[in-house]
Assembly symmetry: C2
């Protein structure tokens, strides 16, 4: 945890009383004492500084000043074939830490239907994990999440509204130009990357993606587990975007 | 699991009887029946094809033909400040899947001493995890692992022999040119990348690394958890190397 995130409804007259893991973190890990300053952020709002007014293992009260803009919303959306619940649980915080604006989870032939009925897709489960990732990365912007049981409906009817004007890429193994080369040569300002299931998209799914503007980019020759592949893909995409527009990186 | 790895001592007259998770994988997941072909590899040796001679949930016998070279040993070594055991356990398979030749785990000021006494550093624990990562990535070359309780002795006295003639990089946040730009402009054929602990290297450690040829490269502005940072760093390094030398990628 590199900043402590506070929700707008928790603020009262510029102060917040924390009674959950954040209190334990400030009291036990940071050994916070009254008067000490803590980096904070307002969820989906600015960054700032909290001054400890009182601190015990159960309750920490902070006086909050928010005075700094967070990093801009990431110019990256991800369209991810829903992985199995154990993997998805591990991914939430990492996706938020790496930086994505919108996470679209979709069905595909090689996605098992029961995956959609697990609690790992309930906001009550994933929201705290996303916040954990934001606290790690010192960001305040909660990724937007949507879940799509019909791949075709998503791609044909919904994608243009969900991720407008984005350059669309589909991650492959050994097909197409490298992701780095492709993004470096791309004048877009926003990207949408599709990451398939273990075992890949089927032929119909690939054709549908390509018919809707997705270009194949190569991630290299090694087959990776879905969670490793997600982290690898998003890291590459962010690094390539940053190298293409040095001003974006310097401002980050 | 994308190939099944066999150890040389398990082979007898060109056949192997599997009685562990590999048997369950072939029988249950691949629904293997006699006559069926399975992708296999010989640990630290060639790739090949196994023909199922008999198959039950407890025991699968394969007749093995090894006829193809595996990918070359990765031109990447990693010097990693030992993360906490839970994170290290998650990392082993991912490191092997991403491709590293040598893994050097080291102490640092911000590494807690008890981390060195956990079973996650015993070959009996990590070797199966490394093999799991190789089976994912269709590689046979087991990374070499060494554990170093004295950072200074490692850097001053041992590193030249462990990772000879490598271009040395130390991953930072917001310091130095980007990793991509740095590696793309680097004529080296072998790389060693140092990845620090949560909280970073201390001043002395950074100075020692720089005095021994490590150049700072920037990973971007977001602070990542150690395991996410490792996957991100190694993906970037491999992608940058591949883009620099197209022949290497084509051969992968």
């Amino acid at each position: 945890v590199n900043i402590v995130l506070v929700e707008p409804h928790e603020l009262e007259s510029g102060a917040v009383e924390l009674r959950d893991r954040r209190a334990a973190h400030i009291h036990d890990t940071l050994r916070g004492v009254p008067g000490q300053h803590i980096r904070i952020g307002l969820l989906d709002g600015p960054l700032g500084v909290g001054t400890i007014a009182s601190s015990s293992p159960q309750s920490v009260t902070l006086t909050c000043v928010f005075d700094r803009q967070p990093p801009p919303r990431p110019p990256v959306d991800v369209l991810l074939a829903l992985p199995r619940p154990k993997v998805m649980r591990r991914l939430w915080a990492q996706l938020a830490a790496l930086g994505v604006d919108r996470i679209m989870l979709t069905n595909a032939e090689r996605v098992e239907r029961p995956y959609f009925d697990t609690h790992v897709l309930h906001p009550g489960t994933y929201r705290p994990l996303l916040i954990e990732g934001l606290q790690q990365a010192r960001d305040t912007r909660l990724p937007r999440v949507s879940i799509h049981r019909q791949f075709r409906v998503l791609v044909e009817d919904e994608l243009d509204a969900l991720s407008p004007a984005s350059s669309r890429l589909v991650a492959h193994q050994g097909v197409g130009p490298s992701l780095l080369a492709s993004v470096t040569a791309d004048p877009a300002v926003r990207w949408l990357i599709a990451i398939g299931p273990e075992g890949g998209w089927n032929r119909f799914e690939v054709m549908l993606l390509e018919a809707h503007g997705f270009r194949a980019v190569d991630l290299g020759s090694r087959t990776l587990r879905t969670d490793t592949a997600c982290v690898a893909t998003l890291s590459l995409l962010h690094a390539a975007i940053a190298d293409r527009v040095p001003a974006t990186r310097a401002a980050g």
